[in-house]
């Protein structure tokens, strides 16, 4: 049975393009132009994954509300936020709406589909009880589960978005090596400007520091990028 991807996007052309791409990729697609349509449909049947635009027709932040309602219906449902502006990522992330990823709309379709695929993989992995541990990366207190796309620090789960996880993964795989911003973007399958990457890194640090205030493993190498130090 095909997985059902819901697209909530008020711009018809974008919506249809996304729908066509997901359909081509073998997903079933339902697309909605506003929150009311989406919610009534979700009430009947939950999708397997939702891609939600933040501004929906006459509701500039209708996406937030939709996300909250959707999360209330299902705790595991993967949700991807699409924003028009980079800076909105900060706002969305800051809201802690329980979304799994935050993306800008200029992300290319193949990248988007890669993320959707990844998120489905994670869902599958989480459903499989205690899968093979070969995919684990351990760096001191850090444990990265690439299959479930989950990070742990001192055994505590650190909730990272997909982008954040891929960045941490890229950094921690080769500790001490400097990863440039471009490398981080490639790893995360995103195209972002420097300031957005900086704020992503800041947010990663903050999330780890929430678990361990002494966390200082992500170092800035000014002018070059970042590196993981143990």
């Amino acid at each position: 049975m095909k997985r059902l991807v819901a697209i909530v996007e008020d711009e018809a052309a974008i919506r249809d393009n996304y729908a066509a791409a997901f359909t081509r990729e073998g997903y079933a697609v339902r697309s909605y132009a506003n929150r009311a349509q989406a919610m009534s449909a979700f009430a009947a049947r939950l999708p397997d994954l939702a891609v939600i635009d933040i501004s929906l027709q006459d509701e500039p932040e209708g996406g937030y509300e939709l996300c909250r309602q959707l999360r209330a219906l299902s705790a595991e449902l993967p949700i991807i936020f699409l924003t028009a502006r980079d800076s909105e990522i900060d706002a969305v992330s800051g809201l802690r709406l329980g979304a799994d990823d935050f993306l800008t709309k200029d992300l290319s379709l193949p990248h988007l589909i890669a993320r959707v695929n990844a998120l489905f993989r994670r869902v599958d992995a989480l459903r499989k009880p205690a899968a093979g541990a070969g995919e684990l990366i351990r760096r001191g207190p850090l444990t990265l589960d690439a299959e479930r796309m989950q990070a742990q620090w001192d055994g505590q789960v650190v909730l990272l978005s997909l982008t954040e996880f891929w960045m941490v993964h890229a950094l921690a795989r080769h500790p001490g090596h400097v990863r440039s911003r471009q490398q981080l973007m490639d790893a995360a399958n995103v195209v972002l400007d420097d300031n957005t990457i900086t704020s992503h890194v800041k947010r990663i640090r903050r999330k780890f520091q929430a678990v361990d205030p002494q966390f200082d493993a992500v170092q800035t190498v000014y002018g070059m990028g970042y590196r993981w130090v143990e």
């Binding site: 711009e11 052309a13 974008i14 393009n17 996304y18 066509a20 791409a21 081509r24 028009a84 502006r85 980079d86 800076s87 900060d90 709309k105 200029d106 290319s108 379709l109 193949p110 400007d193 420097d194 300031n195 957005t196 900086t198 704020s199 800041k202 800035t220 190498v221 000014y222 002018g223 070059m224």
Partner: protein, 668 residues
Amino acid sequence: MSLRLKLLLLGLATLVLPWAGCNYAREMESALRAGEQTSLQAVSQTIAASLQGRTDLLYHEAPLAADPQADAAPPDAVAALAPAAGPYDLKPIALATAPPLDGYSEDWPRDPSAWAYFRKDAHHRFGILSGVYERMLYVLLEVHDEHPLFDAPGTNTLDPATFGDRVWIGFADPQGQEQQLFLAATGPGAVTARRIETGEYGQRTAVLEPRVHGAWQSTHDGYRIELRVPLSMLGSRFGVLVDDRDARGAVPVSYGTLRSDDLHTLGRLIVADPALGSYLTQFLQPGLKLAVSTPDGRVLARADALAQSTTLGTEAPLLARLYRRFVDRPGERQLLESDAPIYDRDHAAVIGQLEVTQTAGRWVRLRDQALTRMLNFTVSTSLVAVVVMFAFAAWLALRLERLRRASESALTRAGIETRFPETEARDELGDVARAFATLLARLNEYTGYLRTLAGKLAHEIRTPLTIVRSSLDNLDAEQVPESARAYLARARQGSERLNAILLAMGAATRVEEAIGSAERVDFDLVPVLSSALGAYRSAFPQRRFLGELPAGPVMLHGAPDLIVQMLDKLIDNAADFSPADGAITVRLLLAAQAAVIEVDNPGPPLPPQLAGRLFESLWQSRADGDSRPHFGLGLYIVRLIAEFHGGAAAAGNLADGSGVRISVRLAR
């Protein structure tokens, strides 16, 4: 010319008041003068009327009845007596002083017209000059004589054999009787007249007439006699006869103004009665001069009090004298004159002329008083006007200066200062200030709009671009003929470029947002810079980078990410404007309270007009043909980050002109 000076000049225009005052004073003076002239005319006519018919006073003669000729003569003949002067008439001038009786002419006035000349022939001629001083008639006689001859000394003056040159004087006494005296001298010196008296028995004796005396002096061509005769002796007629002898006792050549046979006078003595002077004196007032003259203009008598000052002193106050200097026209006569004819008793003929002269003192004083008051008033008015205008101009200039300064400093680094002085003022200057304030407010809105335009535009374009790009992504997955792939690739290239443009356009907005959410930490600037330098060396392999960093740590409180981002922009800029393999120097200097980052790059110097605008938003001076999108935001971002760190950015040319230095001060 400054506003102050202009208004000062305008204030000086009020000096037209004193000027008009001076003119008015002159007019007033003319009117006063005319009035004075009229009254003087009345005075002179009154005095002249009182002298009407007083030929006795005017011409020192007995009442007309005493003159036998006048008896018979018709009235106009009497009238002819005075004006129609005969050739033998003697007209004494009025003497200022009594000449000493010494026989010399130097003490007499030099007045050739006063001389009367009589001649018989080329060898026999004399000149006579007569004058009156007080009650004396003075006579100066210059006789041309090729053979001057004195009487033989020590002999009987009546012995004809002893006679030398002699001079006869004939006159009518106050009673009208003809009298004769003669002058004879045995040598130069004093001489006294003698009268020939016939005794009871017919014997003749020469009797001295001590009242008539003088001096006899020889001259180079004859002799000179100076003589004094009391007017009291004289009537209306007077004459002189010269007996010229070439040898003692010879028959003389007689000529002169006496008949040579009986020594009867031929001419009259036209001289005023001594009483005329005192008569005139009674009309005299200080500052007045009275003069009576014959109809042909010879002065008979005068009474002069011109020099006497009028009752109020002429010593005017200094200010008044200063004013007078402006008002008086040079050469203007300070005297008033008035003439009145003196008629004979029947008012038929003019027997004399009265001249009354008055000094200007009286009306000048009046004028000075009025003038002083008026000029004091107008000059002080002008002064006040000038001071007030100057003060007003200064105040106005001050306000304009404030406006000017405000308008010059309105465009600040931080934006446009829309507050403006003087907007509360209710006058036109206030209107200007309000208009300025409105203009600046609109300009502020406009620049604010411009500043956000890029960000807004980027946002608005992003959605259609997303449509294009996602459509292209979908098209990639479709069955597209190979021939169309090229177009697809181009479309993708174009959309990528559009995306890059959007990123560049939104850069400033993102930096502003980043600054807004930036957290300040304490960090050492030196490793940050050296680390960044290392990155630039690999990022720009065609440029050389020189770091001049201090050995010790340089602690800063700020956002190192932003500092690096700022440095990125500076290095971008330096690399863009420097030639390949140019050496870019990054220098960190420590100043008081500040750390200064300097980035030097070789390359073309900055045009001078650019210096202040380099760090403004949307300003750029890049050459065309650069494929990367630029919106003049790089150095604006530098400025934003510098200001976030409490500092400022400045650009200038290197001292040797080989390149450009951009320096950023960061507060420590």
